[in-house]
Assembly symmetry: C2
Homo-oligomer: 466 residues x 2
């Protein structure tokens, strides 16, 4: 039903004329009177509604910007770029004397004909860097044609900024830093003369501002930078909050009926495990979700203190007797640079993002230092079907949640298949070898570890995957 | 060019009339006078050229067989079966007083609407059991429609028997046991009354015998039971023999210029490593292929003596200094029941078929005892592309042969990806941890191990994969 309504709204929103409103073209003929050039000295001309930007050597990034700001809007355009040149489309962007001497900054929808192929991602120009890298949405990387015209559709409604390239859903960003600003066409700086006099061309640049209705909700990973919030797209995907900044509903002490009375604290929108000297589950103890999960997506932000150790465990059964932390598969949280456990284990399998003591995370250049927020995402999907031929009969055993991915700051840092011979061989040479059937559990709780060090959590979310 | 010729021949061969020859229908109207019932008491009737078989309780497998034998032929028919019933089409089959009191035996093209879905595989009825199980060709398992009519195309030309179900290439068997025999329609025995009175229906049963030309060569795994031979299909796939039953061309001693003068012997179509007391590479020593391989398919038959230990290693570089066997990835060959190494390592990763000391083979019910021949297949394909974001630049590293599969007796017993974090974690806790960069080699020789025990090899084949 929701889908039907949205489709209706979508059709309405995209119709060129409805209730008198029309898509407004931002360039007509050779008229650039509504635009101004900012930044560098790259050149722009217009002809038949098409803007042609040309690179110039020894000049910084240049922008052809609208003179007026746009807040909520849908922007339609086509772009064709020399395959050797990087470019982008600024939205809700600004140039202010008190910020880097007027340097253009803000959301840039990427135009990237390089092998990286991040066209449609969102970069925060001269501000926070990548907000929606396409490491978060590999499906979009094939959308852009480096040798032809490409259709961009950009939707900005409140904190929701979404992009489509040639009708493939690319970025889904939720961020409230800047609600309005100019639209601008970037001609990127070039490293030398041989990349001068290259063109970027834009045409059919048209915008819709009144009653902008969102396109249908899509399934890609939403990067939500508003703490403890859910975007409409996340809600449509089935997410709910396990921590909204205030309440700890949905959590209890591991092996206990209620939430720990000490050791954990909610403060300023953060769920914090307090420092108690670095011992495992000795003070407040670990906390677990009240519910159990089999196939699911779980995400949170965490901030370490210096030298801190913690972890997110999943498929927790609480059925093993253990004085220390409950047994499960662990997404390791660690200050790799300062905690000695980072160098223990094998091949780096105790570093941040690793499947603890089993599989090392490929977390190079991804980790943000203690004191900064990092984003975790754990995705558990798929079925495993084991087949054995017994004479002419077949024996089959099946379990859900076979495929697991660990993500750190929007990049997949490891993936594995539970219950495979490879997995069992890893377990057999790990500290978990003592636990019979380790990692073959059909479902379990999700756990946040009290390892005696202060660690902050926020924006804790979970959805079941059918 | 070959392809073009074959396509021409194919078109020619399938034309209903050419040079006066026609597809000969084996059942017309209700006439079954060219057929006889063998085996059990299930019933058959014919109507409008369609044969209807009906299950009967408490009777063995029943067959409606042609009275005359067929040697080389193409057989076209359609079949529809009650989804609860197993059935099959016998070809080149026999019923003789001196074999199991006349019991029908021979090649059966499977009709299998069960969840196993092995329709199109080849079972050797009342003789050797499965010859071409669909564990060898998973792509075919989706071809059969359990709830409708299915088109079978069966081609028997000399030792080559191939099947298609609904135009999907299924079995590719090369076997010279029986060159001619009757065609028969099976009604399988049923376990009880509730599966009695179920139907199997066949229609448009037609055969072509003169100048049977093969269909185009297809890419699935060929199971070749003729020792030290290559079928035309294998040749078309690019295979060549590394041992033809007589010569050891293409091999040399590991770390040596020539073939060992002792310890290895060719006899009766077998390449044999001789017993020398169970020590590693101490007598004749290991042998390696002269050539190196990056992406490839390698196969052989091996026969162990009791308690024997040997192995097939690949990506051998010979650059490591070692007094014992050369370093590489090893497909373990072992008499698991009698050699103590089977219980060493972890999680069974030193048993037959395992990636030695790293990944256990799922070899249950697959292994044939010492004194019997087993088939090995090692498939190395794929590329690995590592991507790392460095600022706005991308660093990529690529190597071939990332994906590896170990097969034993036509079943995949393990697979893994070289160079992944999972792989590196396994190596870091194995005996190979001392070898820098273990398993990341771009190419290498293939090695047969002299572990001081008598082991027989034959039908050694290799092809490069582009």
């Amino acid at each position: 039903m929701l889908r039907a309504i949205l489709l209706t709204l979508l059709t309405f929103g995209l119709t060129a004329t409805s209730f008198g409103q029309e898509w407004k073209f931002l360039v007509e003929g050779d008229d650039l009177s509504e635009w101004e050039r900012l930044g560098g000295e790259a050149t722009y001309t217009a002809s038949n509604g098409e803007v042609i930007g040309t690179t110039v050597a020894n000049t910084p990034n240049t922008f052809l910007a609208t003179k007026r700001p746009y807040g909520d809007f849908a922007l339609n355009l086509e772009v064709r770029v020399d395959p050797a040149i990087n470019s982008g489309i600024q939205i809700r962007s600004e140039s202010k004397p008190d910020y880097l001497n007027g340097r253009v900054h803000g959301y840039q929808v990427e135009i990237d004909p390089s092998a990286r192929a991040w066209s449609g991602g969102i970069y925060d120009e001269a501000r926070r860097g990548w907000l929606y890298p396409l490491s978060a949405n590999e499906d979009c990387r094939v959308a852009f044609n480096p040798n032809g015209w490409n259709h961009y559709y950009i939707e900005a409604i409140g904190p929701s900024i979404r992009t489509w390239v040639n009708d493939v859903a690319c970025a889904a960003l939720y961020d409230d830093m800047t609600a309005s600003g100019f639209i601008a066409l970037q001609v990127h700086s070039v490293p030398g003369e041989d990349l001068a006099n290259r063109n970027v061309r834009w045409r059919n640049i048209r915008v819709w501002e009144e009653n902008v209705t969102p396109r249908e909700w899509t399934s890609q990973y939403v990067i939500n930078l508003v703490p403890n919030s859910l975007s409409q797209q996340e809600i449509a995907q089935g997410f709910s909050l396990l921590f909204d900044g205030k309440t700890i509903q949905g959590w209890r002490g591991a092996g206990k009926e209620s939430f720990p009375e000490k050791g954990w604290r909610v403060e300023d929108g953060v769920l914090m495990v307090e420092s108690s000297g670095g011992a495992e589950a000795a003070y407040g103890g670990d906390i677990v979700t009240v519910d159990e999960y089999s196939t699911f997506e779980f995400s949170l932000d965490f901030k370490l203190t210096e030298g801190a150790n913690s972890g997110i465990k999943y498929f927790i059964t609480e059925s093993y007797g253990s004085d220390a932390s409950a047994i499960g598969l662990e997404y390791q949280l660690l200050d790799d640079d300062r905690h000695p456990d980072a160098t223990q284990g094998a091949a780096g399998n105790r570093t941040l993002g690793s499947l603890y003591d089993l599989i090392p995370a490929d977390n190079g250049k991804t980790v943000r230092e203690p004191g900064q927020w990092n984003r975790v995402r754990i995705v558990v999907t798929g079925k495993r079907l084991d087949e054995r031929v017994l004479g002419s009969r077949m024996e089959q055993s099946e379990f859900s949640g076979a495929h697991v991915e660990h993500w750190l700051n929007d990049r997949k840092v490891l993936e594995y298949e539970r219950g495979t011979p490879v997995f069992d061989a890893l377990v057999a040479r790990s500290k978990y070898v003592v636990w019979e059937g380790f990692g073959h559990w059909p479902q379990g709780h999700i756990l946040l570890q009290d390892h005696g060090d202060e660690v902050h959590f926020r924006s804790i979310k979970v959805r079941r995957i059918d």
